[in-house]
């Protein structure tokens, strides 16, 4: 993501789990992306526990889920519907991306940077909540009534 061109400074902070230590001075967080590896149940458990530490206001468009590893079906220990359900419960967008593949990684980085720009308020006319409702309307209609 850092390779992408961006008008303002882009900072990425990686963490294995939340909460982040509170003694460090850090800039405002605009977007949280939870990465779930479909090959390991442990990563799903980790994400679920980290979600408890996220403030409620973040879920209005500033949280996204990224599921990786869907390409190799026989390595998957988590069913695809599990992450779909998780994303639906938290009303946040879900992306599927095989982070091992270079091309997919670059495309995903572009999408995330664009989303980040909107969440940080750098794109006039579109807010994070706008984006969220736009993305939700294109989802599978079956998911809505569950």
């Amino acid at each position: 993501m850092l390779k992408e061109d961006c008008a303002s400074t882009l900072k990425v902070h990686l963490a294995q789990s939340l909460p982040l230590p509170s003694n460090v001075n850090r800039p405002r967080i605009d977007l949280i992306v939870f990465v779930v590896n479909l090959h390991s149940k442990y990563s799903l458990q980790n994400v679920e526990e980290s979600l408890h530490h996220v403030d409620a206001t973040f879920f209005l468009g500033k949280v996204g889920f990224l599921a990786t590893g869907a390409g190799q079906d026989n390595h998957c220990s988590i069913h695809r519907n599990t992450v779909l359900r998780l994303a639906h419960t938290y009303r946040s967008p879900l992306f599927f991306c095989d982070l091992e593949v270079e091309g997919f990684r670059a495309t995903m980085a572009q999408r995330l940077v664009r989303m980040l720009q909107i969440c940080a308020g750098h794109v006039p006319g579109v807010s994070a909540l706008n984006l969220l409702s736009l993305m939700r309307s294109s989802e599978n209609p079956f998911l809505e009534d569950v």
Partner: protein, 408 residues
Amino acid sequence: MLLDDITLIVEISLSALIYRILLMRLLELIPPSADQSRGQAFSLISYDLITSVPSKQPTIQIMDSYTAPESTPRQSASSRVKDYFIGATPLQKRLESARKLTSFVPTPSRRKIPQCSQLQEDAELQKVAFLLHKQWSLYSLTPLYKFSYTNLKEYSKLLSAFIAAEKQKGLAVEVGEDFNIKVIFSALLGMKGTQRDPEAFLVQILSKSQLPSENGEGKVLWTGWFCCIFGDSLLETVSEDFTCLPLFLANGAETNTAIIGTWFQKTFDCYFSPLAISAFNLSWMAAMWTACKMDRYMATTEFLWSVPCSPQSLDISYAIHPEDAKALWDSVHKTPGEVTQEEVDLFMDCLYSHFYRHFKIHLSATRLVRVSTSVASAHTDGKIKILCHKYLVGVLAYLTELAIFQIE
């Protein structure tokens, strides 16, 4: 709290576990984070956007407990049949099934525990005895076009000629000549789930005995058999000319499998593809087979995990006494006769947390590669060995379901 009770049961029943670890090197795999509790605390936060106050409900319910619109594959098949107009073409049925699969829930969240089959008589037992205790490679097969059970002898001759031709490439071969090998097609009676399932049939390559004094059949070089158990969802979508036998099991040399596969593909316009079993399905198999009631246990229950780490991958093997595994399953199991997604997850999580408590290794971050119980043993590459004749049909039913899912 209910959670503590379950943890307590885990401690009592697993105290007598035998565990053996094969580690090539001990590595610090995952540093346990500071505030990681037992690993069993799953809670569902229902987020209410209006009040914007998350309400925590501590339940045992795991995130992926969804209620499927259809409870079992068989019931769903029958309900779909009722929805059709009388005389719907197979193409329409096929489109309907394809549309249903792209919707929310492709796999059922509950399945029936394999029932003890009726093959109790000795004669039938003998017929299927050769199927047990052999390692079979699994393939999924699309429906065969214009296959008829009456032409089995003809198919034997054609296949023998084909194999001989392949083995001596380039030389002209006549049908009906004497070869070193003999191919036999035979029908396997009783290998079906419902009356609608087509008959299973068996293909064997035998080496002809060279000495005239030896009577009878030669040595079996290769065995393969085709079957379909509870394949209702596939049977509905194909027309009359097709025979649906989606599961193919082969035992023997790979070259023979390839040759026979080519012949079938050419003759019946079908397609073989190797059936790999994902870790998710392996955990289902582990739960279902542990749930089967057995009089005596022949083998220990064993799991094998592969740890993805560089440069060499690690294998962790975890063996449990089968009665302890059954006791653990009984404490988890609630609905009689059925296995649900939550029970499978809870069963596996009990094993993971027990292992973590002793060895500080998160098995849930690794990949389940092999499951072996007294009923059957399965490897993720698509290899299966069935040990118990009573549950043969049950094991095959699940494999048929996986094969059908792969075809579709």
